[in-house]
Each structure stands twice: as C-alpha cells, then as structure tokens.
Symmetry: C2
Subunit: 228 residues, 2 copies
Amino acid sequence: MSVVLFSGGMDSTALLAVEVQEKDPVVAVSINYGQRHAKEIEAAAAITAHYNVEHVVVDLSVLQDVLRSALTGDMDVPDGHYAEQTMRQTVVPNRNMIMLSVAAGVASSRDTNRVVTAVHAGDHYIYPDCRPEFIEAVSAATRLGTATFGDVEVEAPFVHVTKTDICRIGAAADAPFRLSWSCYKGGSTHCGSCGTCYERREAFRDAGVMDPTVYVATPTYSVPEGVQ
Amino acid sequence: MSVVLFSGGMDSTALLAVEVQEKDPVVAVSINYGQRHAKEIEAAAAITAHYNVEHVVVDLSVLQDVLRSALTGDMDVPDGHYAEQTMRQTVVPNRNMIMLSVAAGVASSRDTNRVVTAVHAGDHYIYPDCRPEFIEAVSAATRLGTATFGDVEVEAPFVHVTKTDICRIGAAADAPFRLSWSCYKGGSTHCGSCGTCYERREAFRDAGVMDPTVYVATPTYSVPEGVQ
C-alpha cells in the first residue's frame, strides 16, 4: 500500500493514475493548509471517487494564522510566469515538510512504509522544498523518525521529470485531467492568468495532449530573462 | 530570535528558562495534536505568561482522526514505567517531525532560523523521533526545505542530557516547574501512576530538587529488566 500526497492538481493526478495502475491499494491524502485554492480539495474528491480510492482529507487551515504566504493570507496572488520572483510570495514556509510529515504519520498508522509526492523538476526554481536534495533529506528524516514504527520512506517519482512529461505520463495512464484543478485564484473556472494556470496550459500544449480545461482568460506571456 | 517547541512539560519548561536567559526574544510554539493531556497547553500558557513570552498555540487536534495512538484515540493510556514496551502504545506516529515542521514554518514566517526542542536522552528507548540521528536528519531536511526562506535549523540541546540533569539545569535557571504539567491521563492533578508521572517524580528525586508537584497516587515501580 502507498500513501499518495494528493492535491487534486494535474501533477498528483498523474501520479495517482500511475500508482493506481502499479500499486494497489492506495490511500490519497489531501491536506488543506488554508490555501485560497480549496477548489483543489473538491477536485481531489472527484478524482478519488473516479478511482474508488480512499481519500483522507486533513484540514490544517489553522496554519494560515501562523504561516505567512500570499496563498494563505491577505496578500494578492501575483499574476505572471510561474518562475518569476514575484512567485516567491506564493511560498508557504516549509509546506512540503509539513504535508509529508503528516502523510508519513498516516502511513505509519496504517502499517505502510511508502509516501509518494508529485513534486517535479519545474518546481525547483522557487520552491526549495521541491528539490531532489530536500526529498532525499526528508525521506531520511522520516525513515529515522518512524524507525520500528513502519520505517516510512518518501519517494518523488517526478522529481526529475518536467511538467510536460508528467502530462504525457498521466495521459498514457488515462489520468482524469478534466477533473483536476490548478488555479491559485480560487474562482469557479481556471483564471488562465496566474502562474499555475500558465504552467498548466503550457504543459498540455508542449506535451501535445488535448487540454480539457476551460480558462477565463488567454494571456500571452514571455518567459523572463534568466529563467530556465 | 528562537522558536521554542513548548509543550508545558518539565523538559521544555527547563529549555524555555535557559532560552529566555540566553536568547532574547523567544517565541514559544505549543501544538495540540489531540492528545488527552491538553492540560499541558494550559500549563504552557501559564508558563509563557510567567515569562511574558509570545505564545503561539497551533491546534492540530484534527490529526487524532488520522493518526493512531493511545494518546490521541480510544486506547487506554497504560500504567507502568515509561520505558516499558506497553509505552509503545503512546507513540503518536511521526509526532516530532510534524511538530518540528510546523515550528520551522513559523520560524521562516518570522525571519528567524532556529527551532529548539527539548527531546532528551531518556526518550530514545521508545521514541525514534527523539534520537540524535533523527534530530540531525530533520535539521538537514528543514534547512534544505527552507533554503533562501530562512535556512531554518533544528537544535535539541538536551538530546544527550538525562531528565535528571534537565531538572538540575532548569532549577538553576529558575524554571517555574510548579506550573508545568507531565501527566498523560488528563486529570486535574498529576495521577502519579502513568509513565510520565513516574519519570517526573524520579527526575526531581534523583536531581535532589524539591518536587512541587501534587500527585494523586504514590506507586512504587521497579525498572523492568533490559531497560537502561
């Protein structure tokens, strides 16, 4: 059994699709950390229902009172390319470590030893807690912290995979991308303007996969200088 | 500035006393993870008020629905020596990693880079997430996960210190032990029978420090064979 850290976005939807194919049974854990895009949790519920997979939702929205970020507080979510410096505002401090440690607790409680997360190569530029060295370190800490209580490890199968290739992998595994949610702005339709909408659209386009998403706006961006 | 992970028990009270002396200002973070001994949170509030230190309480009691333990669920809290095998039931899976990752998020949000926890040598036998190798690993993961967002590190100054010596160190720093709370059973007075009450009493006795605690019962235990 595996515990999949599952946001309901397109990356973790692709991961769940692969996990359902390869590792049965699976428990999907969604963590609401007070983000504005709680629409993701609804998407996560629809996708786990699609797969008839157990869905554990953990409401940690109290964290928005103590953690500073444009995603959880009163700051405006910036528009623009995902990799721009303004996107630093969307960093929720230590978010992945908090989510992974809870998922590992769930894994230990269910006598399973594997937590998987869909962090990917495109997240590295801004988010330190999506980088390969962090994943290795957090897996080591988790294994030691749960020693004799499951020896839980953390895996990030997409950590060196681009979002475009995740889109291809997910499509090949029949991932229900139409049910997934990416927008950071929390409207009823994907805004099309925020960094994650831009990234989502770009991934479908570059992967040559049909994009089932309805976007409010269709902006054009240029990648800022110095961004890879 | 330092963030002190602060339960209101005697170990973190001693740690806070030392931190207030040496590192000013300090923020104390108490995390309610659904434990039965929420009395600790009241004790923590009284102690931070004593020191006029900011007290951040994070209610993660929703975790009791997803994490299995005698401390958070319906299981009975076992009596007996703290180091007995029955005490394994009191392990909340991955508890310290969850609490430390939240404390590190608070530290990053406040532009400070140091989280301290009062885990100590006596905790190693049963709790894997109190051992020196875990502390080192979780500090490495935290530093990487908060890289460029504070580079937060975790320190455990008591990790090689016995509870008896913590009692001596706290007494020397005028720690208000009378306000602290240890009992796992959640009554209005320390039960005197549970593992942590036994350990508390033993620490005061062995340290030669006056024990200000009122206990309901005065049991005598012998240390089980094989326990150090």
